[in-house]
Symmetry: C2
Subunit: 475 residues, 2 copies
């Protein structure tokens, strides 16, 4: 038997090699996807909602290259730097694909000495992460960023960023959501009063950041076991990070005997109170939760931080709504631009990033469930013929329509059957058919067929453009 198995294995190995020779691997790179016409239609709907919101708030738009000098990205992302895609050294500069849109934005500001701008930027970013594509986690994915740079009175731009998240998530009708808010200064103050040594602030902050995925017990043992924090300090942190609420919690912490003695915490809490006042004027505090467990992974935040999560639908048997993941996040980063300036001149910034891929996944799943038929073209009319030998007449007519700005198609056949032409309209949702025939040509008319009702009317050739416009106007 062993001999037989060996023989079979050898045959299999040979087969494998042969296959390898002839079989071309036909796929997109790991963690990436194509967008076909249907997916693009959904994507463009979502982008439209997001861009209108950014424009409603008076943002300009910029774009930067897909790669940056490697050194531009170095030292900005902490532990996540290992996820950066580098380009091969083919001579010349060392380059990396952008990891987010925030660092390129800061580089752009410093390079052009811009101290004051409100801009949005929608583009793909790249992370060599473990993809989980069914849940909308990719290695190539879009970010939709809105940022306000400049020296302003406290919390006014910060409040606008939260208003924007609220508007976009409401507009896209993704279901219930909550926007968690915290402040790096409150976290730092909390770490200090809990007895965390200064040198461990960052790494303990990274541990806290995991609380949305793993239970406190695990985070605690990471703090104590891996990161060498005293059990007492960890327990004190544990008490704080379970707190979440609104203005009442802010007031409570402002009275907290330890926190109220810490300068940065007090600053952070004062600003948080101001933020909540502004959010009350915007009428959106119902969806905002001041949450001491929110930490955010990135190194560059210096003040307010926030993250929007969608809440699970249809879960009557669960006591609390379950979060299904973050769809937007951001915060204040007052030091990042200064890292690019030779003299370290700072430009305070606050911004938000909409994580559109998860939103796509939800919209796609919903569309599939709804059986709504989505059109992937905007064609208004198909130029068709009922008889043979009318290709030239079709070409002449379609050219007239294109030149008049009408969206028109025809089948690329010399003599297509009328049935096939009508079927094409049914399949693609084209609402009108302009039919040319011998008799119509003699009479100087075109037969216009309304696909939905099968009604047919003769339209004088010189009125055709106007007639199509009227019948397909969406006003």
């Amino acid at each position: 038997i062993a001999k037989e198995v060996a023989k079979l294995l050898e045959m299999k190995a040979q087969l494998g090699t042969d296959e390898g020779k002839h079989k071309f691997v036909l796929k997109t790179p790991k963690g990436t996807r194509d967008f076909g016409p249907k997916e693009m239609a959904i994507r463009e709907r979502a982008f439209k909602a997001i861009i209108s919101c950014f424009k409603r708030h008076g943002a300009e738009v910029i774009d930067t290259p897909v790669f940056e000098l490697k050194e531009t990205l170095t030292g900005k992302y902490g532990e996540d730097s290992k996820l950066i895609y580098d380009l091969k050294d083919q001579g010349g500069e060392l380059l990396s694909l952008r990891y987010d849109l925030t660092v390129p934005f800061a580089r752009y500001l410093a390079m052009n000495k811009i101290t004051n701008i409100k801009r949005y930027h929608i583009a793909k970013v790249y992370r060599r992460d473990n993809p989980a594509m069914t849940r909308g986690r990719y290695r190539e994915f879009y970010q939709c960023d809105f940022d306000i740079a400049g020296q302003f009175d406290p919390m006014i731009p910060d409040a606008e960023c939260l208003k924007i998240v609220h508007e976009i998530l409401s507009d896209l009708q993704l279901g219930d959501f909550v926007i968690k808010v915290n402040d790096r200064r409150i976290l730092d103050g909390m770490f200090a009063v809990c007895g965390v040594p200064d040198s461990k602030f960052r790494t303990i902050c990274s541990s806290v950041d995991k609380l949305d995925k793993v239970p406190w017990e695990e985070v605690r043992s990471e703090m104590v076991g891996e990161k060498g924090l005293s059990p007492e300090a960890a327990d004190r942190i544990g008490e704080y990070v379970q707190l979440h609420g609104g203005l009442d919690l802010i007031e409570q912490l402002l009275q907290d005997p330890k926190l109220s003695q810490n300068k940065v915490a007090k600053e952070g809490l004062g600003d948080m109170k101001l933020l909540f006042e502004y959010l009350t004027l915007f009428g959106i505090t119902g969806k905002i939760s001041f949450d001491l467990s929110l930490a955010r992974g990135l190194d560059y935040y210096t003040g307010v931080i926030f993250e929007a999560v969608l809440l699970q639908q249809d879960n009557e048997h669960l006591e609390e709504p379950l979060s299904v993941g973050s769809v937007a996040g951001g915060g204040r980063y007052d030091g990042l631009v200064g890292m690019f300036d030779a003299k370290g001149r700072k430009v305070p910034c606050v911004g938000v990033s909409i994580g559109i891929e998860r939103i796509f996944s939800i919209l796609e799943q919903r569309l599939e469930a709804s059986e709504e038929k989505i059109r992937t073209t905007e064609t208004q009319v198909l130029v068709a013929s009922a008889q043979k030998k009318l290709l030239e007449e079709r070409l002449k007519l379609i050219s007239e329509l294109w030149d008049a700005g009408i969206k028109a198609e025809m089948l690329y056949k010399k003599n297509p059957k009328l049935l096939n032409q009508l079927q094409y309209c049914e399949e693609t949702g084209i609402p009108l058919v302009a039919i040319v025939g011998e008799q119509e040509l003699k009479d100087g008319v075109v037969k216009l067929r309304i696909v939905a009702t099968r009604e047919e009317v003769n339209v004088r050739r010189e009125s055709l453009v106007e007639e199509i416009r009227i019948r397909t106007s969406q006003c």
Copy 2:
């Protein structure tokens, strides 16, 4: 002296090292650029014209990842393959940045077994070329591609591609242009009857492709000297490649004693005649030139090829209009999809690519010359206050406006001066100011100021949204 020089050089070297330590290189990678708000406004104008044209012709839209498996790109670009950007091997798949949108499109068709689609794709592509940025040549640049895939009657989709180029270049008002047309089959037939050995077709074709940049004499010496072609064959090619014209030239070549005996040339000329008939129906032959010197660099073309060039303006002292470079190109590639199919099943394709960067350069230069002031936001109204302590009222009002879909801004100051607020409108082109003050609040009105005329009217708060809409509607 030698000693002094050595000392100075040493000092300089030390200085160089120190500089290297402190000076951060603040730039975008070689051959790339940022697009600021003004450039983006121009870019979006151009894209709008191009996208409307593609949609007018019934195209769907797709998107693919910015990188592909390295092997997907291998063997598709001939001599130009050396310009491909590879990613660093960080474990996992070997990847390259896309070089054009055509090969990813073919990969997409084969992978999804699509045999019939009309799609456009607008995205950045990457070439490690020598950049000439003032003339719009970059290493990262946009391509706007429209392609028709499927088995159809000859030259109907091909003619539509040329119509599209004609529409876009006319619409963008870039000045006079000519679209050169040729066919790879005519070139191959021409090479055959001139006595070029089969094995040298490709490399001689590459030489012919240089004729738009260097004179015939140079191309001839490359053919004979470097590529070992006989002088007689080269001279025969030289006679053909100076020919250009229209239907008359096609008829003449169909009578050519040598070419008319060559099967592929005859096929190509027959189709070229058909193409001109269709272009006549489209009314665009005035801008089309059948040009035997047009070869196009890429390997994958199999039939019709074309290239649009802008003609130099203001050159009365020159006899012939000078071309300032190609802004669009394309052709038929019937074999490319088959290269990705395990069974080699072919999907005939024809397409066009608009080279938008050169068009940007021209539009930018023109705008700079015209001193037209271009708006970079769409803000309709600035929410302002004439007195102090009205931040809360401004926040309340702007929130109402945003929620009603009005594009509104405010200054992020607690107590901004009215003059500064009005100045901001002048600078950014905001047409209206909604001013809140003590008296207005008591009266339940908002003072609406029209920036251009300095006129001010009191508007009841509940009519404000409607009033802003009417005053800023563009119908």
